[in-house]
């Protein structure tokens, strides 16, 4: 009977050990909320400002925090090069005191036609975890009225006209 209790005690302590040593979920130290816009649906060329509120939920100050926009193209399943969108420069928040909230305004210019998820990301020197807000849907509608056939005709005809002119000049000089 004693052996049974010892075995039970061993198994119980083992169970406890595996529970504490298992996967732990890091607590969010920074809360990010996108205040505006809620949704973007417009044509390419639209310049917008994403307003976000960043709160330090931890009890330590976070140094050199910076906030930036991230966008994922859900049509192509890839992240975008934010330099094209003029949104590659992060906003430096310096030090975030415990409980402090700051509002940031991140400019962006939507260039390419597609559907995206846009979110604000914050990172700090004192925190290995990267924090992101919930995403907002962005739909950039196609508005081009370019007629590809007409562009092709012009693109083919122009060099041909110049080439014919060159042959004409060459022939005239020979005569």
């Amino acid at each position: 009977m004693k052996k049974v209790w010892i075995t039970f005690a061993f198994l119980f302590s083992f169970q406890m050990m595996t529970q504490t040593g298992g996967v732990t979920f890091a607590q969010d130290t920074i809360d990010i909320k996108i205040l505006s816009p809620d949704v973007v649906e417009n044509y390419p060329g639209l310049e917008a400002t994403v307003q976000a509120e960043i709160t330090n939920l931890s009890n330590i100050e976070l140094k050199n925090a910076m906030a930036y926009i991230t966008m994922a193209d859900i049509g192509k399943h890839m992240t975008v090069n934010l330099e094209d969108y003029g949104a590659d420069v992060p906003i430096l928040l310096d030090t975030l005191q415990p409980g402090q909230s700051v509002k940031v305004e991140l400019p962006i210019r939507f260039v390419y036609t597609s559907k995206y998820k846009l979110y604000v990301t914050v990172s700090s020197d004192d925190d290995q975890q990267i924090h992101s807000s919930e995403s907002i849907p962005v739909h950039i509608l196609g508005n081009t009225k370019i007629n590809p056939i007409f562009v092709q005709i012009v693109s083919i005809a122009m060099p041909i006209i110049l080439l014919l002119l060159l042959f004409f000049v060459k022939r005239r000089k020979k005569q």
Binding site: G45, S155, L162
Partner: protein, 252 residues
């Protein structure tokens, strides 16, 4: 007499066989770019205004490059071919000769700009961008092109060889184009920031954006263009200074 000189410059630089080959090469480049706007998926997703802005940048870049190459050859070339003396012995004043050469150079640019119009027409179809492109090309690009033409012509007058004047004009063009090769972050600090603020090329790009996309008013566009106007004045001043330096060596 000055009309005859302008005629000679047009014959030599605007409608010569060499020039026709240059026009052909330019149209090939324009065609390649225009076709890529409708065939390359990434580029076909661009907004129509963005397409026209990119095309305008290429037109401007090519116009300036070709202008400085031809301009650098104008006086230095005459010197190398030993025809400058006979030109100076003509009844025309030095200022008139320089003016004639400048007109010939600007006519060359004008033809390149005319070649770009069918492309602009095709790429701006269904919008008011074509009119804007015309305004930008002939009112805003024009001072910039005159500036670079005067600069290259000035160098061509001062320096003895075509190579040297072309190289110097080309280096200056590249310096003004530095901000175009840098990222947004790099342009915001240090030397790149200074160049970006004063570069006539960079400022004309800003004007392009403010005019096409931001649709800003005349006053803002004028502020954007201020470095371009200063550049134009300085280039003409250099050309006038160089013009006074032309001397008739005389025979031995």
């Amino acid at each position: 007499m000055i009309a005859a000189l302008i005629g000679k410059e047009i014959k030599e630089n605007v409608f010569s066989k060499k020039s026709l080959w240059i026009y052909f090469a330019v149209t090939l480049l324009f065609s390649g770019l225009a076709l890529s706007f409708v065939s390359v998926k990434e580029l076909s997703l661009l907004a129509q205004v963005e397409v026209n802005m990119t095309f305008m940048k290429v037109v401007l870049g090519i116009s300036i490059l070709v202008t400085i190459i031809i301009g650098s050859n104008m006086y230095a070339g005459e010197r190398e071919r030993e025809t400058l003396e006979s030109l100076l012995l003509s009844p025309l004043s030095k200022a008139q000769i320089t003016f004639g050469k400048l007109v010939g150079l600007l006519l060359f640019w004008f033809i390149i700009s005319l070649l770009s119009l069918p492309y602009f027409f095709a790429l701006s179809m269904g919008t008011d961008i074509f009119v804007k492109a015309l305004v930008f090309l002939y009112l805003i690009c024009f001072p910039l092109v005159i500036g670079f033409a005067a600069l290259s012509l000035g160098f061509s007058t001062i320096l003895s060889s075509t190579k040297s004047s072309t190289l110097l004009s080309f280096i200056l063009f590249l310096v003004t184009a530095i901000p175009m090769f840098l990222s947004t972050a790099m342009k915001k600090s240090g030397f790149a920031h200074i160049v970006d603020t004063v570069s006539p090329l960079s400022r004309s790009m800003l004007t392009l954006k403010d005019y096409f996309v931001n649709r800003l008013g005349f006053a803002v566009l004028m502020v954007d263009l201020l470095p371009v106007i200063i550049f134009l004045i300085l280039s003409i001043a250099l050309l006038l200074f160089a013009n006074n330096k032309i001397t008739l060596k005389g025979g031995e």
